[in-house]
Every structure is written in structure tokens, then in C-alpha cells.
């Protein structure tokens, strides 16, 4: 009875509050839920009460890894490879994964954030070695090209875009293109081809992964925005600019004006241009969480991961000189102090300031800027259709107003075999980075994201999807919302080579930061290589390097 009354109340409020919501009756039958990372947990750090708890236990470990996402698990992989097994991973959330965490709805697993990895270029040999360990590289052709697990390769059709009420294949809105626009599109790719796999005098690639290993010659591009670079090239076509803006939002959570030109070009060039390399995307129904799950299981085959992964553990104070980490076990309500030779901070860098002694963090408070994201997973009674190009893995609306843009949705059920694809329905993952013109706006967008209730946010998601699929509310079976206050580091002009990242990465006593953000680009590869470097540093400290 309570439940039905509550439902009634919600429906009543909704009727009054939501204007222009045609199908509020149907929508009310699906209760949107917040799932995944809880912003409240991170905010526990603000409470002084943590420091008042007595320490219940003191332990020692060679290495403490703070954060169980892509960086933390990659660091553990490196330590394991070097034979260093005296480590623990402290994870704030109840589950591993960080921004690559997976979730599940009845119909299918789904990503909550990061959801694919492009196959690495040859120079990323360490990453290839990881993929081989995880059984994702299953062999090599005679010329050394890796062969990937077929079920992980993203199958065609990869992309379609919604433009003028119709779906079109690919991501470039070519419908109605003028001759000048076509010429600009060709020139853009000519420009990229000229830079493709280009090296400086000493043989270093101009664009490569991780971004800090790129040759210095074009670093000046980091001082201008991608929009300014396009202006400089005389590339004014709105279609081209929409396409590049989409790429920047998708990879970096930034608009064209906010993205460093080096970062913008790096998106296209870091792995070699798509049409010249024999590359593919690796993806899974549960997104990169499945990749990390495989990594966890791989380590688990050799080590007791049960005793090395401590979930629900909040690190609240670090003494960098003595390597002492104070951590609160949120589920058991105990406080533990762990002393370590090296502390790998594989969690967002901006949090580190709050656990170090006052004044100990050399990094300026606002040196790194993060994009908030709203992600939602929807279980539908039927696969989304639409007029024109057929349903693809990535489905993107072309929206003229930059303030109203979202990235559309990705089909979590895309990789299913013929045996599963027969099931009715689908799970789609909606992605929307919250972009604002200035830091003030960004802070407001983040505050609004965290303050809104599930119903308000689900309305926002459904309205965006209704633009592409008017009947979507009637097909909705479940809606899960994932709020990411600090989903991505924003590579704004000056970030990559302006010095802040060097400061952010530099060891502070026994502590070294190595999460994706200190790489400067929100990519799995940055997390991986940042973690490798930090793990090597830790190995040197414990005398195993």
C-alpha cells in the first residue's frame, strides 16, 4: 500500500511538473533508478568525523593501489608481471571498474561509462601484451598483425546518424552537402593524411599513445583550440565542424572551442588514420567493464584477488613521507592504517589534495578540469528502428544547437550472437557529456546533475531519445541512470604540454598519481601507460625494478 501511494504521489507531482510530457502515464510505470557510482560516497571525505575514528588495525604492504579502475588494475598487472605480489587495491565503490564499470539489466549487461577500445597500433606493444594475456589477441598473422577474438570485434554497421528525420550511415552528415562543403571535407582528410604516422627528425611519431610520448614538433598546437585550428585551415563547413565537435565531445567531453587542437588531431591520428590502418574496435555488451573483469580474472588465476581487492574502502588520509594510508572500511565500519613503500594513486587526481596534509599538494586546485556526464541505460521491449539506415552500434543525432547536443546511444546488445539476438528487446546506453562555456557553468551543470532527482534526469534522457524514436516511452521497460560528476579530464588548450600534468604526475613522497586524468586524455591507453610507469616507479622503490 505504501508503494502504490508513493507511486501515486510521484505520478501526481509529475503531472504538475512535467510540461509537454505526452506519455506521462506510460513513463510513470517505469521507475528510473540511480545505479553505479555514488557521488555521496566521495563526499564523505568532506566530513571531519572520519579523522576521529580510532585506528582498528595496522598493516604493511609493498604497494598500495588506490582505485580499482583501468589504471589500478593495469598497475596490478604490471606488478604481477614483475613478480611483486605484495599489494592491495583499495576501491571506494562496492564494485571494481571506475568509469569503465559494467551494469546489468535483465535483457543484457551494459556499460555505465567507457565502452570500447580501439585495437592498439604496433608501438603500443605493452598494451598488445595485455590483450594477449587476456585472450583478446588470439594469434598473429605472418606479418605480425595481431588477430583479435572475433566476438570482441565491433561488427558492422558501426555507426549511423539521425539527420532531417532520417537515419544515414556513418557519422558525417553528407545529406544536402554543397560542392564547397565536400571540398572542405576532402581537404580536412588531406590535411590529416599528411600528418598520418608522421615522425620527426629523430623518428618519433608526432601523435602517439600515450600522448606524452608524442614528438615535440607540433606541441604548439596545444595552445590553440580545435575550433581555432579549423579556422586557420579555412574549414568553415558546419557539417565538418559538427563532425569534429562530435568527436571531441565523444572522446573528451568538450566542445570544439574547448578542446586543444593537439588533442583534437590526436583523436584522429594517434593510432593511424582509420582508412589506412587495419584496425577495429573491441567492444563488449558490458563495455570496458568486461575488459577489466577479464583482467581481474586473469590476475585471479595466479593470485588470491579476494584478499588483494578491498572494496567499500575509503582512503581519507595519507602521510606521503612515511607511506601511511588511512582507510575506512565502509561496510565493516573499521579504520585501518596501511604502511607501504609506494602508494599508487589510481583515483581522480583532484581528490588527492583532500587526503594529503594541508599544503602538501603542489598542484593548483583548479589545474585540472573535468567533464560531468550523464549516462543512462534503457531496456526496451523492441530494438530501436527508424527510417533509413538500419540500427547500428553507435546511433548519433545531428543537432544544430550546440547547447542541446547529446551523443545519442550505443546498442549494448550489438555484439550478440545469433543465439541471443533472437530474444526480443534491446538495451541501449545513452551518453551525454555536460559541456559548458566556462568553469563556472561547468560547476553549475555538475551541481545540477547531482542535485536532480531520477525522474527529472530520466525526462531529460527520454526527451532526447524521443527526438529520434517518438514511441520510445511505450517501449521502455527499465531505465538506469549513472551520474558522473568527474567523468573525464578535459584536454582544454594548454593542458597537455603546459606543465600541469608533469606536476600532477610527479611523486609526492611515496605517493604517485597515475589515473587516466594525469595522462591528459580520457582514454584507456592513458590509464594503462600511466599505471605502467607508476608501477615501474613503485617496483624501483621496493627494490624490484
Amino acid at each position: 500500500m505504501d508503494l502504490s501511494r508513493r507511486k501515486l504521489l510521484i505520478a501526481g507531482t509529475l503531472g504538475g511538473a512535467s510540461l509537454g510530457c505526452r506519455d506521462s502515464r506510460e513513463a510513470a510505470s517505469v521507475e528510473p533508478l540511480f545505479v553505479g557510482q555514488s557521488p555521496e560516497r566521495g563526499h564523505l571525505l568532506r566530513s571531519a568525523a572520519l579523522l576521529d575514528h580510532p585506528i582498528d588495525e595496522r598493516r604493511k604492504h609493498g604497494v598500495v593501489i588506490v582505485g580499482g579502475g583501468a589504471a589500478g588494475l593495469s598497475a596490478a598487472w604490471r606488478l604481477h608481471k614483475a613478480g611483486m605480489h605484495d599489494f592491495v587495491i583499495l576501491e571506494l565503490e562496492p564494485a571494481l571498474g571506475g568509469t569503465a564499470r559494467s551494469g546489468a539489466l535483465p535483457r543484457s549487461a551494459h556499460p555505465m561509462g567507457a565502452h570500447y577500445l580501439p585495437t592498439p597500433p604496433p608501438e603500443c606493444s605493452e598494451l598488445r601484451s595485455l590483450l594477449a594475456d587476456l585472450g583478446l589477441i588470439v594469434g598473429y598473422e605472418h606479418d605480425g598483425t595481431p588477430e583479435y577474438r572475433t566476438t570482441a570485434i565491433c561488427a558492422a554497421p558501426e555507426e549511423r546518424h539521425f539527420f532531417h528525420g532520417t537515419w544515414h550511415p556513418g557519422l558525417y552528415p553528407a545529406d544536402g552537402e554543397t560542392a564547397d562543403e565536400a571540398d572542405q571535407w576532402a581537404r580536412f582528410w588531406d590535411r590529416l593524411r599528411a600528418l598520418d604516422r608522421a615522425r620527426d627528425g629523430s623518428g618519433e611519431l608526432l601523435f602517439r599513445l600515450p600522448v606524452r610520448r608524442s614528438a615535440g614538433r607540433l606541441r604548439g598546437l596545444d595552445r590553440m583550440s580545435m575550433a581555432a585550428w579549423l579556422d586557420e585551415q579555412g574549414l568553415t563547413s558546419w557539417r565538418l565542424r559538427w563532425y569534429v565537435d562530435y568527436a571531441c565531445r565523444d572522446d573528451y567531453g568538450c566542445t570544439l572551442d574547448q578542446t586543444s587542437a593537439f588533442a583534437g588531431l590526436h583523436h584522429f591520428l594517434a593510432r593511424g588514420l582509420e582508412d589506412t590502418r587495419d584496425g577495429a574496435l573491441l567492444t563488449w555488451p558490458g563495455g570496458n567493464g568486461e575488459l577489466l573483469g577479464a583482467l581481474h580474472d586473469h590476475l585471479g588465476a595466479h593470485l588470491d584477488m579476494g584478499e588483494r581487492v578491498l572494496a567499500d574502502h575509503l582512503v581519507y588520509a595519507i602521510d606521503p613521507e612515511r607511506g601511511r594510508v588511512r582507510v575506512r572500511d565502509l561496510s565493516a565500519g573499521r579504520s585501518v592504517e596501511i604502511e607501504a613503500e609506494a602508494v599508487l594513486w589510481a583515483a581522480p587526481r583532484f581528490v588527492l589534495r583532500h587526503v594529503l596534509p594541508r599544503g602538501r599538494d603542489p598542484l593548483a586546485p583548479e589545474a585540472l578540469s573535468y567533464a560531468p556526464w550523464l549516462v543512462a541505460n534503457l531496456e526496451l521491449t523492441r530494438s530501436p528502428g527508424g527510417v533509413g539506415a538500419s540500427l547500428a552500434w553507435d546511433n548519433v543525432p545531428v543537432i544544430e544547437d550546440p547547447a542541446a547536443r547529446n551523443l545519442g546511444y550505443v546498442l549494448a546488445t550489438h555484439q550478440e550472437g545469433r543465439d541471443q539476438a533472437i530474444e526480443a528487446g534491446a538495451v541501449i546506453t545513452y551518453y551525454q557529456p555536460l559541456a559548458a562555456a566556462d568553469p563556472q557553468g561547468l560547476a553549475e551543470a555538475r551541481a545540477l546533475l547531482l542535485a536532480s532527482d531520477a525522474r527529472e534526469l530520466s525526462e531529460q534522457v527520454l526527451r532526447a531519445l524521443e527526438h529520434m524514436h517518438p514511441a520510445i516511452r511505450r517501449q521502455l521497460r527499465a531505465l538506469h541512470l549513472h551520474r558522473w560528476g568527474h567523468a573525464m579530464i578535459r584536454p582544454i588548450p594548454g593542458l597537455l604540454f603546459g606543465g600541469a600534468l608533469d606536476t600532477a604526475r610527479a611523486p609526492i613522497g611515496r605517493v604517485r598519481a597515475c589515473a587516466t586524468d594525469v595522462g591528459g586524455l580520457p582514454l584507456f591507453e592513458e590509464a594503462f601507460y600511466g599505471a605502467l610507469e607508476a608501477a615501474d616507479w613503485a617496483l624501483a622503490r621496493v627494490g624490484r625494478g
Binding site: V138, G139, E141, H142, E147, Y148, R149, T150, T151, I153, C154, A155, A156, P157, E158, A280, L281, S390, G417, R418, D419, Q420, A421, I422
Partner: protein
């Protein structure tokens, strides 16, 4: 009925009798046409035509009886009732064939829908003749009335029963026939609405209703061609002996004398008259080619697709084979071909052989899981007999990534063979398969054979080392004379391609581009309906 008592309009200005009798003729013809449509559909879709026809006739006649009996309860507004009955017949009868086709595609069993339609039409037709007799101008004597009306009624039945098999079915097909007669019923209703306008209550509304029905059935008749191709694909040339909708597809088996045919979702998979040509060509050249690479006979064989067990029948001729793994998506398919007598007769009970292990799974996922194990125990022969790549989920099973997977589980001295669509009907698709096999670091050797029920059909041999055209059958085949199609002299000729089927420039089929599905689609459109062996 809660109608306020209304004065019956005077019967004075009744329509002329000959026209009324003509409408009896039309109405009777329509009624019998619907009965025949339903009976035909029942025997097509459910098989056993004697039972179906007899059931349909019986149910229809008794429904008519029910309708006639019900007519005594109609007391007022006779003309209105008559027009409405006509309109109801126009809609239910007119859309009976499209509804049954659609129902066959989506429902588990078609019988309830079929008999519901039949009973509705029968009842309404039974109702209309008594109503019409009562609407006839009152001066006639009962004996004249009955004689004339019933005579025209039965003449109509004769017309229908002659026109249906000779003209309607062959020229118009079921869907358009039913829509055409629905339109006739609608026109009779429209005409009656005019003719009885003085007896009708709210004649304009009734006329408008009739106009709408005629417009709907008429316009559907015009676009009926599209429904036709959708529906008639479900039709078979011979009586259906078995039809089942499984989780994955609709399996239909027809039989005409000794010719047994399997259809998946309406697409022919084999005809027992010439399937030996297909399956011998699929299986034996691979063994002959393998002799160039291997000294020991093949022991382990993998079959992907081919749940009918016919390829396995050919495989079991080789005594050295110790194990055959059959991977087919649909457990119903393999069960059917293991248990149904008429079918086990065809495949020689191959699926019940102790050497055969059946795995019901998606071929790509299953193979990916075998990769590790196959390193120690690869397969000597792999037979890939999958439906044509007419959609993206099947296209994956013809991709370079898939062939690399095949390469990984194929013994270094092993040979794989791939059914590769028709080099004549879908040349781009055929050569795309060949190119893709080459690009997967395998050596492709294409060949083809004539299978009358499919046309010229293509296959591709694939091996990890180069192989030359085999010059005969394998020595390990104990009784080559037991074959019905291949001879040692014929085998090398299969590898020659005529000029109009020569290799063409095509892109390979990558998992992330799926060019093959595109080529297959293009070929299909350039050649008209190409439905052979296409599955879902």
C-alpha cells in the same frame, strides 16, 4: 436492442428484381471464393489437403446454417443489417488471405485464426441470403422467390469453383483474389445502400461506410503486389507435411510423390530429387584435395550448419572418421532430422550415428570457445554449410575474422569447404567469399556444380597450404561407385569456370564492413527474386 420503434420505410420503391438477383450471384460467388481461399491456405500451410478441405467445407457450411438460423432474430432495419453484413464480409473475407499469411509468419499455430475467419465468413454469408430474400419486393410468391434466389446462389457457387483454380489462383494469387472479392462485396454493399436508400435508416451514413470499405479493400488491392511477394514466399509448390515455428525460424517440409523439400522461412534448403548433387559436391572434393597435404586419412570432422544431416551422410562414407562435431543453431532442426522417419530415410539416420556429436550454438561463439582446445586437437576437415549471407548476423559467419578462426582450428594438413552462394546468380557475393578466404591467410580454391533446384552452385575449398585442383575422388573413399553424382572424371571439371562467371574485383568481407551482405543484396536485386538457400 434499444432502438426506439421506428416506422419501417415503405417497401414501395424497391429496387428492380434482376439487379437483386445479380447481387445474389455476386454474393454467392464471393462466399465460395473465401471458402476456397481458406481451404487452400489450410492445405498449403497445414498440409494434408483432404483433411483440410473436408474440415473447411464442413465448418463453413455449418457456420452458414448458424447464420441462416440467426436471421430469424433480425426483425427491424433489415436493409441496414443487410448492408452491414455485406461490409463485414467484405472486410473479413477481403483480408482473410493477408491475415492468414501474416498470422502464419508470427503465430505459433494458425488453426485458431483460420477457423475464426472461416466461421465469421460462413455465419455472415448464411445470414445474408435470408435477409436478401426478405428484402425482395413483396409481390412474389414464396415458391418463385426461393427458386430464383437459390438458383442464382448455386450458380454463383459454380462460377467461383471454376474461376478459382483456373483463373484466380494462377493469375492473381491468394492475396489479391481475396482483396478483389472483398472489393466486390463492398461494391454490392454500396449498390444496396443506394438501391435500398428508401428503406434505410440514416442512408447517408451507411453509404459513407460502404464507400470507406470499398476504398480500403480497393486500395489494398492496388498495392496488393507487395503483400503478395511478402506472403507468397511462404507458399510451397507441394503439399506441406510438416511445419513448425522454432525459436529461430520456421521449418517447413513438403512432399510431392518422392520429392521431399525443406524450407527455412520459406526459402528452399534442399530437394530430395537433387540434394545428392549438392551434398556430394560439398563433401567429397575436400577429401580429395586433402590427399595432397596429408598422408593419414581424416579422423576429426567439423560441420557448421547443415543440421539436416545430409552432409554427414556423405561424411560417414569415410570409415577412418572417428568424430564429427555438428554445430547448428536450432535444436529443433537437428531433432527433426534425427527422429522423423521420412527424413532419417533421406540422411540415412546419420544424426543418430555414435560418431556424431551435436552442439546447438551460434557457430562463431562456439568456435571461438574451441580455439584453445583445437590447438591440440584441430579438425582435419571442416564443412561450412550455412544459409546464404542475406543479413548481418549471417554475414559475420562469412567474414575474414571468421575464416581466421576457421584457420585456427583447422589442422595444418586439413581442408575446409564453404558453401559460397551461386557464382551465376550472385557472382559478386561468390567471389567475395573466395577473396575473403584468401585474405584470411588461407588458400582458396573455388569450384561449382549444377544443382537443378538451386541453379549453378558454388563452393570454396580452403587450406593452410596451397592446394591444386583434385584430379579425382579420395583414395580413402571405399565405394566411389555408391555415389550418385560425382565420378573421378567429373571432379576436376568442377574447378573450371565459364567466361560469364569469371573472377571479379570485389572487396573482402570484414566484420566491421560486411561488404558481402551488400553484394548479396545487390546481386539479388539485379537478378530478381533469388531466394535459394537464404535463411534468417
Amino acid at each position: 436492442m434499444t432502438d426506439a420503434p421506428e416506422p419501417e420505410p415503405p417497401a414501395a420503391r424497391a429496387p428492380p428484381v434482376p439487379l437483386l438477383l445479380f447481387s445474389v450471384l455476386v454474393v454467392a460467388t464471393c462466399g465460395l471464393v473465401y471458402e476456397l481461399i481458406t481451404a487452400t491456405m489450410a492445405s498449403y500451410l497445414l498440409g494434408d489437403s483432404v483433411t483440410q478441405f473436408s474440415l473447411v467445407i464442413g465448418v463453413y457450411l455449418s457456420a452458414m446454417g448458424l447464420g441462416s438460423w440467426l436471421s430469424r432474430f433480425v426483425e427491424r432495419r433489415l436493409a441496414n443489417r443487410f448492408v452491414h453484413v455485406q461490409l463485414l464480409i467484405a472486410i473479413v473475407g477481403g483480408f482473410s488471405a493477408p491475415a492468414l499469411f501474416l498470422g502464419f509468419a508470427v503465430l505459433d499455430t494458425i488453426r485458431p485464426l483460420l477457423f475464426a475467419i472461416l466461421i465469421m465468413i460462413g455465419t455472415m454469408v448464411g445470414l445474408e441470403i435470408p435477409l436478401l430474400m426478405r428484402l425482395m419486393p413483396g409481390k412474389q410468391e414464396l415458391k418463385d422467390l426461393v427458386a430464383r434466389v437459390l438458383a442464382f446462389d448455386y450458380i454463383g457457387a459454380l462460377l467461383a469453383s471454376i474461376a478459382f483454380p483456373l483463373a484466380l489462383l494462377p493469375w492473381l494469387g491468394l492475396v489479391r483474389t481475396s482483396l478483389l472479392f472483398g472489393t466486390f462485396n463492398g461494391l454490392v454493399a454500396l449498390w444496396s445502400a443506394r438501391a435500398f436508400r428508401h428503406q434505410l435508416v440514416r442512408p447517408r451514413l451507411v453509404t459513407a461506410q460502404a464507400l470507406i470499405v470499398v476504398a480500403i479493400t480497393g486500395s489494398c488491392l492496388v498495392v496488393g503486389g507487395q503483400i503478395e511477394t511478402f506472403g507468397e514466399r511462404q507458399l510451397y509448390e507441394s503439399p506441406v507435411i510438416f511445419s513448425q515455428k522454432t525459436r529461430y525460424q520456421r521449418l517447413t517440409i513438403t512432399r510431392w510423390s518422392d520429392d521431399i523439400r525443406l524450407y527455412i522461412d520459406g526459402n528452399l534448403q534442399f530437394s530430395s530429387a537433387d540434394e545428392h548433387r549438392y551434398h556430394e559436391s560439398l563433401v567429397h572434393p575436400a577429401f580429395a584435395a586433402r590427399e595432397q597435404l596429408a598422408s593419414a586419412p581424416a579422423r576429426r570432422v567439423l560441420v557448421l550448419g547443415g543440421g539436416d544431416g545430409l552432409a554427414i551422410r556423405e561424411l560417414l562414407r569415410y570409415p577412418a572418421i572417428a568424430q564429427i562435431d555438428l554445430v547448428d543453431l536450432d535444436p529443433e532442426m537437428t531433432r527433426l532430422f534425427r527422429e522423423t522417419p521420412a527424413l532419417t530415410e533421406l540422411n540415412g539416420g546419420s544424426l543418430a550415428d555414435a560418431r556424431v556429436k551435436v552442439h546447438n550454438a551460434d557457430a562463431m561463439r562456439w568456435l571461438e570457445d574451441q580455439r584453445e582446445a583445437a590447438r591440440d586437437e584441430p579438425w582435419d576437415i571442416i564443412v561450412i554449410d550455412l544459409p546464404d549471407p542475406n543479413n548481418l548476423s549471417l554475414g559475420k559467419l562469412y567474414s575474414r575474422a571468421f575464416y581466421r578462426l576457421v584457420r585456427a582450428v583447422l589442422a595444418p594438413d586439413g581442408v575446409a569447404v564453404i558453401q559460397s552462394t551461386s557464382p551465376y546468380l550472385s557472382p559478386q557475393a561468390f567471389w567475395c567469399v573466395v577473396e575473403t578466404v584468401d585474405a584470411a591467410d588461407l588458400h582458396a580454391l573455388p569450384y561449382h556444380a549444377h544443382v537443378p533446384s538451386f541453379g549453378d552452385w558454388g563452393f570454396t575449398l580452403a587450406a593452410r597450404s596451397p592446394i591444386a585442383r583434385p584430379e579425382g575422388l579420395a583414395f580413402e573413399l571405399p565405394e566411389p561407385e555408391a555415389l550418385r553424382f560425382l565420378t573421378p572424371e567429373l571432379v576436376p571439371t568442377l574447378f573450371a569456370f565459364p567466361l560469364d562467371q569469371r573472377r571479379r574485383e570485389v572487396e573482402i568481407n570484414r566484420l566491421d564492413t560486411q561488404m558481402l551482405v551488400h553484394y548479396y543484396d545487390q546481386d539479388l536485386h539485379s537478378f530478381g527474386p533469388l531466394t535459394r538457400r537464404a535463411g534468417s
